[in-house]
């Protein structure tokens, strides 16, 4: 098998894995590009913003920061607050990514909610290099986002149908991965822990502030309980 053919196989498999993200990213990207355009920033801005920031929800906030001429300290604080959850994604991929060689920095950079979820749900077929598959999925995901942003800035107001609600595809993606994890794991404790902590902190702190305390609580409890959970988890991994 030639190298070109092999690369095509990898891209094909990665593409199929990334299709769920494609839908959501292109349409969310369009929405972002359109907002940015309306705030007075054309497609070149949309391209570079999505290329170097690449964090969906944060980029929507960015439009406000730009429109109001926010201070840099305030910008930094908002970013830490909104994207703080990303720390926890890396935490579950440290061991894997550090062995990825040249792709390592990009893998760390491109670890969004959606890419994280798809990678968690990807089962690489026999004979394929998991690292390569992960890299292509990450790269494809970002290209959807950048493409959508530019498209939105250029032509977002010409979308011929009502796309209200299409952002539910991201919710659906998380639900699907959660279902798969549920079916594959012998211990449902981590999933239940996440759901219960999430709902409790949501009721307690409200929708804007519950996320970070929830993730911290989960990490602390999982660390405390790992001795009991690990025998199960070990078997799952092997």
């Amino acid at each position: 098998m030639g190298t070109t053919q092999k690369r095509r196989d990898y891209m094909g498999f990665a593409f199929r894995q990334s299709v769920p993200v494609m839908l959501g990213y292109i349409f969310l990207g369009i929405a972002f590009g359109l907002l940015l355009q309306n705030a007075g920033y054309n497609f070149i801005w949309a391209f570079f913003a999505s290329l170097i920031i690449y964090a969906g929800s944060m980029e929507f906030v960015l439009v406000n920061l730009l429109a109001t001429g926010a201070g840099l300290l305030y910008t930094a604080l908002m970013t830490f607050f909104i994207n703080g959850r990303h720390i926890f994604y890396g935490l579950s991929f440290v061991e894997k990514y550090k062995k990825m060689g040249r792709a390592y920095p990009y893998m760390v950079f491109s670890l969004t909610d959606e890419t994280y979820s798809v990678l968690c749900g990807t089962k690489v077929p026999e004979g394929m290099d998991e690292n390569k598959v992960f890299f292509w999925i990450s790269l494809l995901d970002q290209s959807y986002w950048v493409f959508g942003s530019v498209l939105g800035a250029l032509a977002g107001s010409y979308i011929p149908f009502d796309s209200t609600g299409i952002d539910f595809s991201m919710t659906a993606l998380f639900v699907v991965i959660a279902v798969e994890q549920w079916q594959e794991s012998k211990s449902h404790f981590p999933a239940l822990l996440g759901a219960v902590c999430g709902v409790l902190w949501l009721l307690f702190l409200g929708p804007d502030e519950f996320l970070l305390p929830t993730l911290c609580t989960c990490v602390i409890i999982l660390i405390l309980a790992r001795g009991r959970l690990l025998p199960n988890a070990e078997k799952e991994r092997g």
Binding site: A39, A55, V94, Y97, G165, V175
Partner: protein, 111 residues
Amino acid sequence: MPISVGQSIAIIAVTALCTVLLRALPFLVFGGKKEVPAVVSDLGILLPSSIMAVLVVYCLRNVDFAAAGHFLPELLSCLAVVGLHVWKKNILLSIGLGTVCYMVLVQAVFV
């Protein structure tokens, strides 16, 4: 553009820098060592299931049980996604039909 080009670039750069810093933090702290601490590798196994459940809650954080139109589309569509996925085990089908279901509900049923 209400502010200068330079100021705009500065805001975008700071946002980008802070985002990268957050994503890189666990790798900066634990990635350099030869052996990743057992706690971290254990979390690598246990945490994804928790995070996915939290992300689902996060996506549904704005549902409002006071009005049918503000929680039924989410609830029904999520049930559809779960049902489809348990039944057919096809990611695209579950996400595609679930999303169409939600769009129909918010655009045509609960307006």
